[in-house]
Every structure is written in C-alpha cells, then in structure tokens.
Amino acid sequence: MYAKEMVKQSLPLIIFCGLGAIVAGSTLGLMTDLLREIPGLIVVIPAIIAMRGNISTAFGSRLGSAYHLGVIDANNLWNEELKQNIIGSLLLSFFVAIIIGILAYITSIIPPINVYPNPIKLISIVIIAGILSGVILTIMTIVIIFLVFKRGYDPDNITGPALATFGDIITMLSIFGSALLIEVIM
C-alpha cells in the first residue's frame, strides 16, 4: 500500500518534469547548425543549465524561507530583502558565466581535444544566455511566489518543481537565442 502511494504521488510530477526536459531537448535538437558553426558551444550547454538550476532553486528556496521567517509576504514583497536576493542571484550568474566561458575555452584547446573556439564569442554567448535566463527566471519566481502567497500555499512545495520544469526550457531557449544573436553580429 505504502509503495503504491509513493508511486502515485511522485510519478505524475516526475513524468511532467520529463516532458519539460523533452521540450528543452528538442530545442537542442534544433540547434544542429549552430553547434556545427560555433566550436565549443556544446561544451558550455550542460554547465549553463546546471548553473541556472542551482542559482534559481537556491533563490526560490531562500524566498520560501524568507516567507516563513515573516520577512516578505504578499503585501510586502518588493522590499530591500528581495532586492538583495535579486542582485545576489544575477551577480552570481554573471561571475559563474565568465568562469564557464573561460573553462570551456581552456579545456578545448588542450592537446587531446584540440578544438579552437573563439573565446570572445563563447564567453559572450554564455554571459548573455546566463543573464537572460536569470532575469526571466527571477521574474517568473517572483510572480509564482506572489500568486502562492495570495492563495496561502507554502512556496516550498511549488517553486522547486515549477523551476525544475520551466528552468531548463527557458535556459535552453536563452542559449539558442544568444548563440543565434552572437553568430549574426560577430
């Protein structure tokens, strides 16, 4: 009985998140031309998705804790605590994006791999994709938190799965968009 309950509770959400990952994967499947034209682009994709996932879920769970601590609520959402969290998340995205670009470049040019990406191009793509997805997901998290507050739900139960499902899609679309933009202008 216990096992049946567990499967019934988690399976639908796990499959739903999987469908989200299929959308993200299909976006990657549409990027074959860009991957061919921009050496090193494929290297940064897992890292950007992981960075976005880590920073966004931490942001979401901090806002959840802030709610439980009574620091923010539906009527007092846009305050200094929230602003510090937003600045912190976006700055962190910016720094980590630079690290990703540099690491991807350095590991590509070493002997066994011998791929020579354009470092400026690669780092620009990572920074634009990281900041763009960061801004979109930050806004999305705040909207979700606001709606959750209004209905009196616990944000801890909602933000995690929502960010896991939409985070990867938005990040992959941001990578697609920034790679396309950089390919056109550089």
């Binding site: 988690s10 299929i22 920073i55």
Partner: protein, 188 residues
C-alpha cells in the same frame, strides 16, 4: 536585513565553481562525440531528458531519506528496510518514466523529421531504457550514500543531495548513453 548580495555571492561561488568544472567535463565528452550527435539528433534530444529524470528522482529520494533520518524512522544502516523500499520504488518510477518518455521522444523525432539516419523504435527504446535504468541505479545509490554520509557528519542532507545527485547524473548520463550506444552499434 537578513540577506545581502555579498553573502549570497560569497556562499554560492565555491560550490558552483566545482559543479561547473564537472559539468564542463560532461560538455567535453559531448564535444568529442559531436559529429555523431549531429547525425543522430534524436540522441541530442534524449540527453537532457535522461539526465534530468535521474536527477529529479535522485533528489526526491534524497529529500525522503533526509526527512526519515531527521525524524528518526530511517536509521543509518545499510540494512534499513525503509531505505531499501525507497530505493526500489525509485528504480521502479525510473523504469516507468524512461519507458514512457522513450516512446514520446521517438515519435517527436519521427514527426519532426529529426531521424536523418534510420533507427528502429525497438532499438531506440532499448538504448534509452538501458541507459536510464543503469543511470537511475547508480544515481539512487549515490543519493543514499550522500544522504547517509552528510547526516553522519552532522550536515543537512537536504542541502547536499540535490547538487551532488544532479551533477553526477549529468556526467554519468552522457557517459552511459555513449557506452550503451557503442554496445548496440548504431553507428555512433
């Protein structure tokens, strides 16, 4: 004020940098196989799916173990029955999820004209399912070990399991996929 952007950046940067370094290794494995992946975009679609399903199930397992350890209905023993049940159920959920998603991905690839080289449905399902089951078995094991070790050392498993498990799933998922494809020899 309980939050400051300086503190958020300072506490986040070290663990994130380590995660990023490991993810770059995953990215380099992909780059090594890039030519083949571009010939078989169906596997390009599959990679985020394979990785995120195991990452999610492993995180849920870790959160359940963490709650059990905190409350006390799971003990720090490799023979704990409650832990075994959770482990087996995670594998079961993984099997059902991977099977369902394999069929969906195949038909998306067929209708989206992404099958530039022919792969039979049965072959694709076998490759996808074998990779998924192998991955979820290892990831579930890593989840148990991480939860138990962090609890034993007085760290909160809730903070540790998710980052460790998702990073491990990303690297091993890509590695296992290429190993299984190699065994089945569809040309990658």
């Amino acid at each position: 004020m309980i939050y400051s952007w300086r503190k958020i950046v300072k506490t986040g940067l070290p663990l994130l940098s380590l995660t990023i370094l490991i993810e770059i290794i995953a990215g380099q494995i992909l780059q090594g196989k890039q030519e083949s992946l571009l010939l078989f975009p169906i596997f390009l679609i599959s990679i985020p799916v394979i990785n995120s399903v195991s990452g999610n199930i492993g995180s849920v397992l870790g959160a359940r173990l963490a709650s059990g350890l905190h409350v006390g209905y799971i003990t720090l023993s490799l023979k704990d029955k409650e832990m075994h049940d959770n482990f087996i159920i995670s594998l079961l959920i993984g099997f059902i999820t991977y099977f369902t998603l394999a069929i969906i991905i195949y038909f998306i690839a067929v209708f989206g004209n992404l099958l530039t080289e022919d792969i039979a449905l049965i072959n694709f399902i076998m490759i996808f399912l074998l990779t998924g089951v192998l991955l979820i078995s290892i990831v579930a094991l890593v989840s148990v070990i991480t939860a138990f070790l962090s609890f034993k050392r007085g760290l909160d498993p809730d903070d540790m399991v998710a980052p460790v498990v998702t990073t491990v799933a990303d690297v091993l998922g890509i590695l296992f996929l290429f190993i299984i494809i190699g065994i089945f020899g569809v040309g990658i």
